[in-house]
């Protein structure tokens, strides 16, 4: 009973319905199927109201965290997003990006702690756009929303996170993303000490969470440390540290909270395989990296190519086969009109015979 009382302190309030959806720059570029699936799951599987606004922009968070966008500017851009939410008749803001979520949280706290910054932002917003500043009643990352409805999703589950050949739970590495809970620990489910947002989904859907030494280490994005080509050693080195740490625990897949982390843990596996001939998954392949929307989509019986999993560097077919997902291999590389559009050149991370495609070592 004592433990349960303590856990309540790590829970967060998440709205039950009527969400204003804010897209993510990275997620819509690299995982557009995930955003599509999230909206479909909310609207059509769970019967929720969620508004996809065509006129909200980037929060400019990548620019802010690489120091080319001032604090006053990002505050005003964020204020415009909140104003659009209010004008559309919503109070519950759900963002699809971890860095955006960290920024929205930080700005709301800053406005509270330093009220003069809120007044200045409201003034800038009015002068620049003629819009009135409002603040959301509830702020959530979209994974919070998915977590909130994890039991409803479990009731509609078509395919649990179980190996169909052995009957054993799939072993899942979960990666929370630094800006989800490290900046404001109480803003995330489980806080920074016991983040449970992804683990809760995995457990509810039949999988087993893998613990490993570098579980909470950064994926290695590091903003300017990836954005500038000269600095990318930082990024790949930190991803490598995580991959080396998790590999001995033989995970069946990685699931990420943050779209950037999903992309880096996927793409750096490709790069490490090309550079060093090293792969971290089972039977010589890479470890598939999923977004939580893709994980939910597979559980609910969505087609993997409609989820956009053909856009991953590490092939997901070994995971699909373990889960018993029925899929059409010939549909993987179809364009929007249903015609075959060619396929990517083979790569080491997927155990292709051709060696390095790029001479990364120069």
């Amino acid at each position: 009973m004592v433990e349960r009382a303590k856990w309540a302190e790590y829970e967060k309030a998440i709205a039950d319905d009527h969400f204003y959806y804010a897209r993510s720059c990275i997620r819509q570029n690299f995982f557009p199927g995930s955003e599509k699936a999230f909206l479909d799951i909310l609207k059509n599987k769970l019967g929720k109201d969620i508004y996809d606004d065509p006129i909200h922009t980037s929060c400019t968070g990548i620019g802010y965290h690489s120091d080319i966008v001032p604090l006053e500017t990002i505050m005003t851009v964020v204020a415009r997003q909140f104003a659009l939410m209010g004008e559309a008749g919503y109070e519950n803001f759900a963002t699809s990006c971890i860095t955006s979520f960290g920024i929205y949280t930080e700005i709301l706290h800053t406005w509270e702690e330093f009220p003069e910054t809120k007044e200045r932002t409201a003034d800038y917003l009015m002068k620049a756009t003629g819009r009135e500043l409002v603040v959301p009643k509830n702020l959530a990352h979209t994974s919070d929303v998915m977590y909130h409805f994890r039991k409803d999703i479990a009731e509609k589950m078509v395919r649990p996170l179980v190996n169909v050949k052995t009957g054993e739970p799939l072993r899942v590495v979960e990666h929370i993303g630094c800006h989800y809970a490290k900046i404001f620990p109480k803003s995330g489910v489980g806080g920074s000490e016991f983040p449970y947002v992804l683990a809760g989904m995995i457990e509810s859907w039949g999988g087993e969470v893998v613990d490993y030494p570098e579980r909470r280490h950064c994926c290695g994005f590091g903003f300017r440390n990836y954005l500038v080509q000269a600095n990318r050693g930082y990024s790949i080195a930190n991803s490598q540290k995580k991959l080396e740490s998790m590999a001995p625990y033989r995970p069946d897949f990685i699931v990420c909270n943050c779209p950037g982390c999903s992309m880096f843990l996927d793409k750096w596996q490709y790069a490490i395989a090309e550079m060093e001939g090293i792969t971290y998954g089972q039977r010589g392949c890479g470890i598939p990296v999923l977004t939580y929307e893709e994980m939910a989509g597979l559980v609910l019986g969505y087609d993997p190519w409609e989820l956009g999993m053909q856009m991953h560097a590490v092939d997901v077919e070994p995971l699909l086969n373990k889960m018993g997902v029925e899929y059409d291999p010939s549909a993987k590389y179809l364009g929007k009109s249903g015609k075959y559009i060619g396929k990517p050149a083979p790569t080491v991370v997927n155990r292709a015979v051709e060696a390095s495609v790029y001479k990364l070592r120069g």
């Binding site: 996809d52 950064c218 053909q310």
Partner: protein
């Protein structure tokens, strides 16, 4: 100026030099980098020490993961203080005195231009596979067939209307530009260009041209370990 930044007010309570921030820091694992020393210098309030930081390489190593924030036993946030130092370094034009600082031009001309031109930090057509070999063959496939690939997931790729990677209408882009103009975003872009151009000429380039941009984007001339 530095102490007026709310990120310094929030991020610097009283550092006791325990070094936990350095122990948890991904940048400190990769670079010869010690955030504890940065906080010590700022806490000293010495103008000489702070100006030395503003000209240094060391303030540009942090990846802003903010792993330091929940771990500091005194509630400091070294990452916030580094954000404030970087802002001031750019405002005063001192960022061009370090190789890592000079990279700000490359970020302004990639991410900054994306925001200004498209309303997004990144869009597929600007992620050139030749400049991003780590994105691999799958990204080259996406890049070469972008309309076909994205068309499967969004009805509005490059067009107005709800959906992923939609184009923004003129009113939205106008509002975004006015926000940048009024709140100092445009001025920072101009500062980065102006100071970079002067430094480039001092270094023997014909201003902050493509050659200078390419060099700051790709070259490391120092040992980093």
């Amino acid at each position: 100026m530095l102490l007026e930044d709310v990120r310094v007010k929030e991020g610097l309570k009283a550092c006791m030099n325990c070094g936990v921030c350095t122990a948890i820091c991904p940048a400190a694992e990769f670079y010869d980098y010690d955030p504890r020393q940065i906080i010590t210098a700022v806490q000293s309030r010495s103008d000489v020490e702070i100006e030395r930081l503003l000209r240094s390489e060391t303030i540009w190593y942090c990846g802003q993961c903010m792993s330091c924030r929940p771990r500091c036993p005194r509630g400091n946030t070294p990452g916030y203080i580094i954000q404030a130092l970087r802002t001031l370094s750019q405002r005063l034009g001192l960022f061009v005195e370090s190789e890592k600082g000079r990279q700000q031009l490359a970020i302004k001309r990639t991410i900054g231009h994306n925001i200004w031109n498209s309303g997004y930090c990144l869009v597929p057509r600007t992620i050139d596979p030749d400049k991003h070999p780590e994105q691999g063959t799958v990204w080259r496939w996406v890049f070469d067939h972008d309309k076909d690939v994205y068309g499967r997931f969004t009805p509005s790729y490059g067009k107005e209307g709800a959906g992923a990677l939609r184009k923004f209408d003129e009113k939205t882009m106008g509002e975004l530009h006015r926000i940048f103009d009024i709140s100092g975003g445009t001025a920072l872009f101009e500062d980065i260009e102006r100071y970079s151009d002067a430094k480039a000429r001092e270094m023997g380039y014909n201003g902050a041209d493509e050659e200078y941009m390419n060099d700051v984007f790709t070259k490391n001339t120092m040992e980093i370990w």
